[in-house]
Structure formats: structure tokens, C-alpha cells
Subunit: 202 residues, 2 copies
Amino acid sequence: MVARAGLSRDRIVEAAAELADEVGFAQVTLSAVARRFGVQVASLYAHVDGADDLRAGVACLALEELADTAGGALAGRSGRDALVVLGDVYRDYAAAHPGRYDAARFPLDPATAAASAGPRLAELTRAVLRGYHLGRADETHAVRLLGSVFHGFTSLEAAGGFSHSRPASSTSWARILDGLDVLLRSWAADAPDHSHARRTTR
Amino acid sequence: MVARAGLSRDRIVEAAAELADEVGFAQVTLSAVARRFGVQVASLYAHVDGADDLRAGVACLALEELADTAGGALAGRSGRDALVVLGDVYRDYAAAHPGRYDAARFPLDPATAAASAGPRLAELTRAVLRGYHLGRADETHAVRLLGSVFHGFTSLEAAGGFSHSRPASSTSWARILDGLDVLLRSWAADAPDHSHARRTTR
DNA sequence: GTTATTGCCTAAAGGCATTAGGAACGAGGG
DNA sequence: CCCTCGTTCCTAATGCCTTTAGGCAATAAC
């Protein structure tokens, strides 16, 4: 008699993601999602394996969205351009979807982490760095540096750390991306690219 | 008849901080703290104004400890030295007290934030940067850059982001601090220090 | 049109947060 | 000595969230 709500894991996770953006990732709760669907809480257990699984689902969704937009935005770009674009993808995503962005840092167990879009994201930043022709070790250091700056800046910005003081955080962001570019260039000078050297070995 | 537990706000917050380091900041709960003291939950309300106030207390404690150790470690140092020491203070604190470190990023309402040791910490990083003789604007950008890198790196490291791959994260950390030093030097070259220029104006 | 599956429900138990009000402990004045 | 009085801690009750178990009804297969 009563119309079915038409639940599915995807629809539930999607609703949870919207909820996260509205009220914060920490407030994402099975009860709230059930209310949103006009459904009893227990019904969700048919599709989701409890509250943590729901949060993990939102995390995976966020990682996927991030990787997708990064992949699209990065197409055809390299060097400084690519660096700026990648940074902006993170920052813009965090601004547009604060709850989802928070979710992206939810600790996943190794198996789901490996199956998530996380590795794809890492690969994308490695691709950006390839334009700087760093040495093997420096490339890893650089991946970590970029991850730290992107994550650190966006999360501090989201937490309001920069909001009540001049200059505008966007100005700092631009200056910081600039700085990273010159920093990576200096690393490139330190350690010439081994993979492309000896091209003329004959 | 029953011996009193001798509760006080400080003792409760301290216990909550220990708990945070043991089981994670998110798991810091009035119930758990009450259990630790062998006391009923409601008894805590005489000293603490609810769960959020308890968390805020832990946050303030963490900020204070951070600012204290940073202040001590920074004494008599400047330039690259000071930069490395400040970074290490953050990283070491996060490693030794993961729960407290997490707490330090708990959003405080403006009043308590202003009264906390947060501003003192910001002042300390500004002091470190004074050694690089940046322009006014660049100094702010640099404060944000350092905050982003320190926070981003330590939190990614704590989340296990770097743990399962070579090279060791300590190596990256050293390389990154080095990089920040050269980056700040390049900014100094861009915009000479106005406060000390024109010394010879006559 | 009957059967099997699945989707959603009710019911129940357990944990955490919060408030209200009561009892026992400690200290100080009579 | 004892009597208040403030403080410390308690019991009790309410409400929200999670999780599990078991039941009925809508959909899909035949």
C-alpha cells in the first residue's frame, strides 16, 4: 500500500553527501538520512552496513568526484598551469562541498582505500609533477608536499582560519601556488631528470 | 561515606586529553571520562558545561602545550634553524599526542579562540618569519603557507597517508623544510624589507 | 495467478547527552 | 558540640542515535 521509497546504496550515499555539505560530515547520521527519505532507520541497513559504512561511502564518493574533476581539468595542461589547476580543483571542491571534502579524509580500511579513487588522485598529482622532471625521491617528496599544502590550506580555510583578516585568502593561495612552482623548479635544478637522460646512449 | 573523587575542571580536561591520545579525539565522551574517574556522568556537569565544552577545553590545553614548547624551543634561534624547530615542534607534538593535536583543530567560538594560546602560536610563527625579512603582505602569506604545510603534513602523516611507502616520511619532512627555507628566501629577494630599508635616508 | 525475493516495517535493547532535584560531605559560626 | 550552608556527587528521567531480530507486503518471475 505504502509506496516504496526506492532506496539503493547509491541514493543513500548521495543523500548523505548532501547532508554532509549542509550540516557537516560529523553530523551525518543514519537517522537524519532516514528522515530525509521518510523511512525508518532500520530500513537503511538493507543497503548500508551501519553508520561507519555510510561515512565510508561518502568518502569514496568524494574521492571519486575529486579525481574526476581533477582528471578533466588537467587534460592538456602541464607545468605551472597543471599545478595551479590541480590546486584549484582541491580548493574549489572544498569550498563547494565542505562536508564531502571532510569526508574525503575519513580513514578507510586498506582494502576499500585501495579500491577507491584515492590512488587515482595520487597518480594525477604525480602526473603534474612529471612536468618538473624531478628525481625519483624528490617526486615522492613533492607529492607529499603538494598533498600537505593543498589539504592544509583548504582545511584551515574551511575552518575559518583565514577568514577574518586581510589580505584575502585567495591572494595568499595564488602566492603560495607561485611559490610551490619556483620551489619545484629549484628541486629540478638540484636533481636532473634521470629517466630522460642518456637518451643518446645509442 | 563514599570517598570523593576530587574533580575539578583541570583534572577533567587533563583526563579527557589522555583519553583523546589513547582512543582518538572523536571518542572523547563524557561517559568515558566519568568512567575513568569512577563517577556518574551527571557529576561532570558541575565542572564542565557539556560535551562540547569539554572538547573545547582539550583544544585549549593542546594549544597551550604547543605554544609553550614552541616558545621554549624557539628561544635563541632564527632563520632556517627556527623554521625547522617550529616545524618539528608541530610534528613531534602530533606524533606524541595525536588526540590532543586533533583537538587543537576543534573549532572554538571567537571569544575562547581569542583567549586561547592560538594567537600566541600565530605570533611565534610570525617571529620565525621575521628572520626572512619579507614584505608585509608576504609575511601573512608565509604564515598561511607554514600553517598549511605543518598542519597538512602532520595530519596526513597521522592519518597514515605516508606510512606504507618509501622513502620514510621523515626524509620528506626534512626535504620539505629545506624547500620552504629556499622558498622564503626567494620571497625575501622579491620584496625587500621595507622596515629596515632607507636606513640611510639622512 | 501463484510463488519467491526483496524492501521496508515494528519492536527491543544499549549507549551517550542533558536536565532536575535530592543527599552526603566539608567548613565555619553560634 | 551542633547547626547551617555551600559544594560535591548521586539518582531518575527524557530524548536521540545505533544496531539486531523477525514480520508483512510489494514487486518480479514463472
